[in-house]
């Protein structure tokens, strides 16, 4: 069986790569249809393999596969390998990735129609799938880092896909650099792991971890820190970059410059959740460091609230969804921090469906509106685009966690888990998440109401062209809407509250942190959970958000403007996104630029090159110029000098 797992995994990994290579290398030779066909086939094969693996590992309880595929490099006593770990967590992630990727591939046939770079686009998407799969299939930090960076690269390439637009090229650049700041921490984290564990393989590292729980490391002389805390925090910096956590979230809004399918696939459903996945995968390390968990939880929860607030004032439909992604990622991270890793991963799964759905729905709207993204120029679209509207509504209900939609089960569990958690900062995190529930409902329904209800605010011309999108677009929407409704209902019991659960031992939790276990004690099935929630705070916060949105955007559309006037300062802060961008621009971008200019124009060009190097050249010239005069070639000059010398010698002899 192990062999079968290996072969399916290998095919799943390589099929998208093959599609990418064919579509990319032979772009000139093959037709658009062929390029689309081969990439879609590749991803479809990968999806099929992932489903089979899911069946075997999750439901048939086949033992996880954890082997080396090939030896990448050796050095000293160390062997760095490329290897797969196929356990419950991996197969779940593989299924999510290939499922969303496949649908987005199909969606893109319609969405990217007529774009001159369409083959390149499909090649990139398949390359992304390959990178993301290697990220989740890795059994060691090397392959993890490879996947991590590959998806970063593709994200950069796809944000800048329309590279003629300066904003797109800049957005890609910014995304890459900010991610690199995260990777900087991540790489150092890997370095700590290598030097303390002597291996980069998960299995070895996790097995050794408890032995190191007492060790300390002095980064600054005489200040001892726990090795595990340092490791976890460094790894978490990587997760902050990739999963857009405060303060490395700044690249995600700009990533919306990329084509909408990409926003759905990379910047909502899969890549940005890599950090969440990574923290869950590293649970044996994080379990041992309450400090790191606390940081993860607080940063996650803070982001969940504060970044969600930004969506309330945003007018660009895509960016609203982008901010909501950042907020939801905060929820997942907070779950990780509380030790409820499985709830985080579950939310990752449901979120992948409904967020991809929302993005693709937004894309459908944008297409119908001829690339108008401003919510205030839409309105009343439900009449023209019924399928898009219905699926978008499903997505909205799911994200706002209204039972029995899928988001309810994952998000409600997260909030409960954080409430139960004893990690320091848990109460603060709970408050953030609770208010976040209000905010989520507010911005989600605001977008829904503005786009699909109310007055039709587009121009006459635009209204004329409004129509439902073609089936390559609506079919993926429907395919995503189904799990957005059902996934939670069907899976919640076995995913979160059973012993043994579907995740088996893939994400070990220690008893002190096992909040999900505590919740499981009160869990009596899906219906009681829904019933119970009706008496919980979360539900009513959500309802309040919905009601506010309804009041402000349907009942009294003039209210928001009055609010904006009343609280112009708040609005300003939110519009400026708390000033992160301004601060970075001022300190880091300008600071670096000044420093580099100083180094170049002063230190290098002036001091070293002009003064020291060419200066010594000039010095030699000058000395030579003086010395040269002494050698005039006239005999009497030399005779005179000789006489002077003799005289001086005599004087010295006499006087001494």
């Amino acid at each position: 069986m192990a062999n079968t797992l290996y072969h399916y995994a290998l095919v799943a990994l390589l099929a998208p790569l093959f599609g990418c290579l064919v579509a990319g290398l032979f772009a000139k030779k093959i037709s658009i249809k062929a390029a689309q066909g081969v990439t879609i086939a590749g991803v479809a094969i990968a999806f099929f393999c992932a489903l089979m693996l899911l069946k075997w590992v999750m439901f048939d309880h086949v033992a996880p596969y954890n082997e080396t595929v090939y030896v990448w490099g050796t050095s000293g006593n160390l062997s760095l390998n490329v290897g797969f770990l196929i356990d419950q967590l991996t197969v779940l992630m593989m299924t999510i990735v290939t499922f969303v990727s496949l649908l987005v591939h199909i969606y893109s046939i319609g969405y990217m129609e007529g774009d001159p770079g369409v083959k390149r686009f499909f090649a990139y998407m398949s390359l992304f799938t390959f990178g993301m799969l290697s990220l989740v299939m890795a059994n060691n930090f090397l392959l993890l880092f490879f996947g991590w960076e590959t998806v970063g690269l593709v994200s950069y390439l796809l944000i800048g896909f329309w590279f003629k637009k300066d904003s797109a090229a800049l957005g890609g650049f910014k995304a890459f650099i900010v991610n690199r700041i995260g990777d900087f921490g991540f790489l150092l984290g890997i370095a700590v792991i290598l030097s303390y564990f002597g291996s980069l393989d998960y299995a070895t590292v996790f097995a050794e971890a408890p032995k190191l729980s007492g060790s300390t490391i002095a980064l600054i002389p005489n200040v001892e820190w726990s090795v595990l805390t340092v490791t976890c925090l460094l790894l978490f910096i990587g997760a902050m970059g990739k999963s857009a956590q405060l303060p490395l979230h700044i690249w995600l809004p700009e990533s919306m410059e990329g084509p909408t399918p990409i926003s759905a696939l990379i910047h909502a459903a899969t890549m940005v959740t890599a950090g969440v996945y990574m923290v869950a995968r590293m649970s044996p390390l994080f379990n041992l460091s309450p400090t790191a968990l606390s940081v993860v939880m607080i940063i996650g929860a803070t982001g969940a609230l504060s970044l969600g607030l930004l969506a309330v004032v945003e007018d660009d439909i895509k960016r609203v969804v982008a901010f909501s992604t950042m907020s939801q990622l905060g929820y997942m991270m907070a779950a990780n921090g509380a030790g409820a890793y499985e709830a985080g991963i579950f939310h990752l799964a449901t979120h992948a469906c409904f967020k991809a759905l929302l993005f693709l729905g937004a894309g459908s709207v944008i297409m119908a509106m001829h690339h108008e993204q401003n919510l205030h120029k839409m309105g009343g679209l439900r009449k023209y685009m019924p399928i898009t509207f219905l699926t978008f509504l499903v997505g909205t209900l799911a994200i706002t966690a209204i039972p029995p939609f899928s988001g309810f089960f994952s998000k409600d569990t997260i909030i409960e888990a954080v409430y139960e958690s004893h990690i320091s900062g848990a109460f603060y995190a709970y408050c953030c998440l609770l208010i976040g529930a209000f905010v989520t409902a507010l911005y989600s329904f605001r977008a829904l109401f503005l786009a699909f209800y109310g007055k039709e605010r587009m121009g006459e011309e635009a209204r004329h062209h409004l129509h439902e999108s073609p089936f390559t677009i609506t079919v993926p929407l429907i395919c995503l809407a189904i799990p957005s409704v059902l996934l939670g209902l069907v899976m919640v019991s076995s995913m979160l509250f059973s012993q043994p659960g579907l995740m088996g031992q893939a994400i070990p939790v220690i008893p002190e942190l096992d909040v999900l276990g505590e919740l499981a004690a009160h869990y009596h099935g899906v219906v009681p959970m829904i019933w119970h929630s009706l008496f919980g705070l979360t539900f009513w916060f959500t309802m309040a958000g919905l009601a506010t949105a309804w009041y402000c955007y349907i009942q009294h559309p003039e209210v928001p403007a009055q609010f904006a006037q009343r609280f112009s300062a708040v609005r300003y802060v939110l519009l400026k996104r708390y000033g992160f961008d301004a601060f970075n621009d001022l300190v880091f971008v300008r600071g670096t630029r000044m420093l580099s200019n100083f180094f170049y124009y002063f230190a290098d060009a002036k001091v070293i090159d002009s003064w020291l190097v060419n200066g010594s050249g000039r010095g030699v010239q000058r000395v030579a110029g003086i010395v040269r005069r002494v050698q005039s070639g006239y005999l009497y000059h030399y005779a005179f000098a000789m006489i002077l010398g003799v005289l001086a010698l005599l004087v010295w002899l006499v006087l001494r």
């Binding site: 990319g24 090939y70 030896v71 990448w72 490099g73 050796t74 050095s75 000293g76 006593n77 160390l78 090397l142 880092f145 490879f146 960076e149 590959t150 690269l153 950069y156 390439l157 800048g160 590279f163 003629k164 300066d166 090229a169 800049l170 890609g172 650049f173 890459f176 650099i177 690199r180 700041i181 990777d183 900087f184 790489l187 150092l188 890997i190 370095a191 700590v192 290598l194 030097s195 490391i217 980064l219 670096t592 630029r593 420093l595 580099s596 200019n597 180094f599 170049y600 124009y601 230190a603 290098d604 070293i608 090159d609 020291l612 190097v613 050249g617």
Partner: protein
């Protein structure tokens, strides 16, 4: 059959013979034939590299494919050549790079073409000589002989400011090597032999070692180049023709790194140990400071040149961290990764920087400018070129899967064992390297086409494509399977670690 040939002598003298033939053909007016001969010669050399790799015995650190002849018996100077796990990959790199340069010259060099080809053939021969010489004076001869063709290449085929750059290059590097000769004579007299392995055995006092170390340092640091003796490089690069830049980056800098491996560490281990802090500091300054300088460049070629210097910082860092690593971890085997990382970095830098310079050469040939702002939007008119250049840029950024990642990864991981802050500073390259590389890429390739010249650009020709693809292949090969490179060095590096950790006092 091939193994019976004097492989290394052929690697040196075949290109020289070919160079003479090419020159003669040029005189006779048969320029095209001359080009064919040049390409054929280097191609044969590359084929001769196959047995060099395939028949290489990875279980011994001794020199292999060795040939020994008396040269000046009175002084015991010999024509003694051979390769070990450190020299062999560099020989292959040399021939590979040379083939690329000579292929790329097919159309791009029209002015004194045969002389150009002959110059680079001789340069190839002399560089191989440096990497295979077992006799110290033979090494010195090749070392200095390399300068002449390079000087000519810059001085004749360079751009506007070429004579300033050529002289600066020559004086800088010549100044460095003068002291090296004295040291070699001293060591030769002391060991009563000029064979480099014999130098390893002699015991030296600390003062002697210090003097020797500094003499070597001057010679090698200029070549690498290390901060602050790096300022010849941007000038040499900007003025050199594309092929010259490729050779400069891919090979000329490597002889400096090679010198540290071959001479400084094993001959003056105690001095290396005592001064490792200095070397580490200079390397880190190179990585961070030079990286920041690259960010300030408005001249694309200068930017690539500075980036090339910054990446070489990892070579010297990897070399001289070993003492700290062994000190903290107590295990000499931990030093291997640092040194092997430095070696891989040398090879991969040859591909990566070489590729960037070659790519730039193709742009320069079309647009005749180095100013970044006069490009812009090239991805619109040269999509294939833009895609290939992206691969090179990513290797420069150190993306996993490319060769640029391997060396940096190994050195940074090792650095942590030495000291957290060394790793911290070295890892800054992740951010700085990405910034200057991609910022350049954005300004050159992205955006709307603004100038008419860019609008009229033609994408790469078939020949250019093939040459670039060779580099792409090399970059991915090392990136995905570095073991192909690492396996040949293990034993030699083990031996080097041993020598470098043994006190000579």
């Amino acid at each position: 059959m091939l193994t019976n040939l004097p492989l290394l002598s052929l690697q040196i003298w075949l290109p020289v013979v070919a160079a003479i033939a090419v020159l003669l053909l040029g005189k006779l007016g048969m320029e095209t034939l001359g080009r064919v001969v040049a390409i054929a010669a280097v191609f044969v050399c590359l084929i001769l590299c196959i047995p060099l790799y395939a028949d290489f015995d990875t279980t011994t650190y001794a020199y292999q494919f060795r040939e020994t002849l008396d040269w000046i018996p009175a002084f015991k100077i010999k024509y003694d050549i051979g390769v070990d796990g450190i020299g062999m990959p560099l020989v292959i790199l040399t021939v590979f790079t040379s083939l690329i340069v000579i292929l790329a010259a097919w159309k791009s060099i029209q002015h004194k073409a045969t002389q150009y080809l002959a110059t680079f053939l001789i340069l190839q021969a002399m560089t191989v000589g440096v990497f295979v010489a077992v006799d110290a004076l033979l090494f010195y001869v090749f070392w200095e002989a390399m300068l002449i063709p390079m000087y000519l290449a810059i001085g004749i085929w360079g751009s506007k400011n070429r004579s300033y750059a050529a002289i600066k290059f020559f004086l800088y590097t010549f100044l460095g090597s003068a002291l090296m000769l004295i040291v070699m004579l001293y060591l030769g007299l002391k060991a009563d032999s000029f064979s480099i392995p014999d130098f390893y055995g002699i015991s030296l006092t600390m003062t002697e070692q210090m003097l020797i170390f500094f003499a070597f340092l001057l010679a090698f640091a200029v070549k690498v180049p290390m901060w602050p003796v790096h300022t010849w490089l941007p000038d040499a690069h900007t003025e050199a023709p594309a092929g010259g830049s490729v050779i400069l980056a891919a090979l000329m800098l490597k002889v400096g790194g090679y010198g540290f491996f071959r001479f400084s560490l094993p001959i003056a281990p105690d001095a290396s140990h005592a001064l490792d802090w200095l070397m580490i500091a200079l390397s880190l300054v190179g990585i961070v400071y030079i990286g920041l300088i690259a960010l300030a460049q408005t001249d694309m070629k200068r930017l690539i040149a500075y980036s090339s210097v910054a990446h070489m910082g990892f070579v010297t860092l990897g070399c001289f961290m070993i003492y700290m690593i062994v000190h903290t971890s107590g295990n000499p085997r931990d030093a291997n990764m640092s040194l092997e990382g430095a070696m891989v970095q040398m090879i991969s830098h040859g591909f990566g920087s070489g590729a960037l310079f070659l790519g730039f050469g193709m742009l320069y040939e079309r647009l005749h400018t180095r100013e970044i702002q006069s490009f812009g939007g090239i991805a619109n008119t040269m999509p294939v070129f833009a895609a290939l250049f992206m691969v090179f840029a990513m290797s420069n950024v150190g993306l996993p899967g490319t060769s640029g990642f391997v060396g940096e990864f190994m050195v940074i991981l090792s650095a942590f064992k030495a000291n957290f802050w060394i790793a911290f500073a070295a890892a800054l390259t992740l951010i700085i390297g990405a910034s200057y590389t991609l910022w350049m890429y954005k300004r050159v390739f992205y955006g709307e086409v603004t100038s008419e010249k860019v609008a009229a650009l033609k994408d790469v020709s078939w020949l250019e494509w093939s040459v670039l693809m060779m580099l792409v292949f090399a970059i991915f090969l090392v990136g995905f399977y570095p073991e192909s490179l690492l396996r040949v060095m293990h034993t030699s590096i083990d031996h080097l670690v041993q020598l470098s950790l043994q006190t000579k006092l």
